[in-house]
């Protein structure tokens, strides 16, 4: 079980992630007011798992909106939300996970906390990777269609909603606080568990549970933003594999559904074999600073 090693320049990506968080959640004063934004911008789906009950959010959560469309008594084909998912996926793939998603940022920050043993992966973890597709098909789509009016993923699992919505609103709104019951503590438990697992293992929610990552990952092979590996210049040192936060081998899995396009492998590569791909023309490989 190899450890994930540090890579220089990570602060640049964290800066972009923080900026993206503020771009999607600029109404920070609402955290103190105990309200959520009701502006017209919420007609637009945010690209990451950004709960629309986060007081600071100005966009709509795509998974929440998808569940809302499917959970009606007469569900309709969710053209609008699906359209956003297709556009985001085709343009960015899982780059959104690596740079835009607020809960991805939270997991990255938690993983930076020193811990006795950091794990890249473990025996049997490959099987867990398939769980996020089950979450998508069963919790997000299946059960929501079957048992209308209940958004199963949002209600029972989503840690982003718990962290950015449930906790701040329960602190500032007495009427909500008075209604806290088992479900609230169940969601807190799920959140705490995921954050604790984030200490030794990078991005456990993204690896095993995120339905949005499951969707975007399917676009990685042909998204406008991607990555390339030049096999001829690669010397097989394995530095890229060692630093990958998703526990994959970028040399052979550069278009993997698991790659979040964070760029750590690019910065770790001593020969510049790995590079970002923007567009579909063959890329000249040179060292990247992002």
């Amino acid at each position: 079980m190899a450890e994930v090693k540090k890579v220089k320049g990570e602060w640049k990506r964290l800066t972009v992630q923080a900026a993206m968080f503020l771009l999607q959640n600029p109404k920070l004063h609402n955290f103190f007011l105990g309200t959520i934004d009701t502006g017209k911008t919420k007609i637009v789906c945010a690209p990451g798992l950004n709960c629309y009950s986060c007081p600071a959010a100005i966009g709509a959560c795509p998974i929440g909106s998808l569940q809302n469309a499917l959970s009606k008594q007469k569900p309709s084909f969710p053209f609008y939300v699906l359209g956003f998912l297709l556009l985001f996926g085709a343009l960015f793939g899982r780059w959104i996970c690596g740079f835009v998603c607020p809960f991805g940022l939270v997991q990255d920050l938690v993983h930076k906390i020193p811990f006795p043993k950091k794990l890249r992966t473990f025996k049997g973890e490959r099987v867990l990777r398939w769980t996020k597709y089950a979450v998508l098909l069963v919790l997000v789509i299946g059960l929501t269609l079957f048992d209308t009016l209940v958004p199963y993923f949002c209600k029972y699992l989503c840690p982003s909603g718990t962290l950015f919505g449930a906790i701040p609103l329960s602190v500032t709104v007495p009427q909500l606080r008075s209604q806290i019951g088992f479900l609230f503590w169940w969601k807190i438990g799920v959140l705490v568990l995921l954050l604790l697992i984030s200490l030794p293992i990078s991005r456990p929610f993204c690896r095993w549970l995120c339905p949005l990552g499951a969707i975007y990952g399917l676009f990685n092979r042909f998204a406008l933003l991607g990555m390339t590996c030049d096999a001829q210049s690669c010397v097989g040192c394995g530095a890229c594999e060692t630093v990958c936060p998703m526990g994959i081998d970028p040399r052979t899995q550069v278009d993997s559904t698991e790659c979040i396009r964070c760029g750590r492998c690019i910065r770790a590569c001593p020969t510049g074999s790995l590079a970002r791909r923007f567009g579909f023309a063959p890329q000249a490989h040179k060292k990247s600073t992002m």
């Binding site: 934004d37 007609i43 053209f79 359209g83 297709l86 958004p151 042909f222 579909f280």
Partner: protein
């Protein structure tokens, strides 16, 4: 995956996505998203 297939899939999904968004706007789904997003989602915050 060869380059032509990548470009073809990319274009297909972008065009389909754009068409779906427009279709959703004209069918009132955009308003439905807004209506949900501007209200506190009790299920999302572990109350409902």
């Amino acid at each position: 995956m060869n380059r032509a297939l990548r470009i073809g899939l990319f274009c297909a999904f972008v065009l389909t996505g754009a068409a779906f968004v427009l279709l959703g706007i004209f069918s009132g789904q955009a308003q439905a998203v807004l209506s949900k997003a501007i209200r506190v989602c009790l299920e999302c915050i572990g109350i409902g």
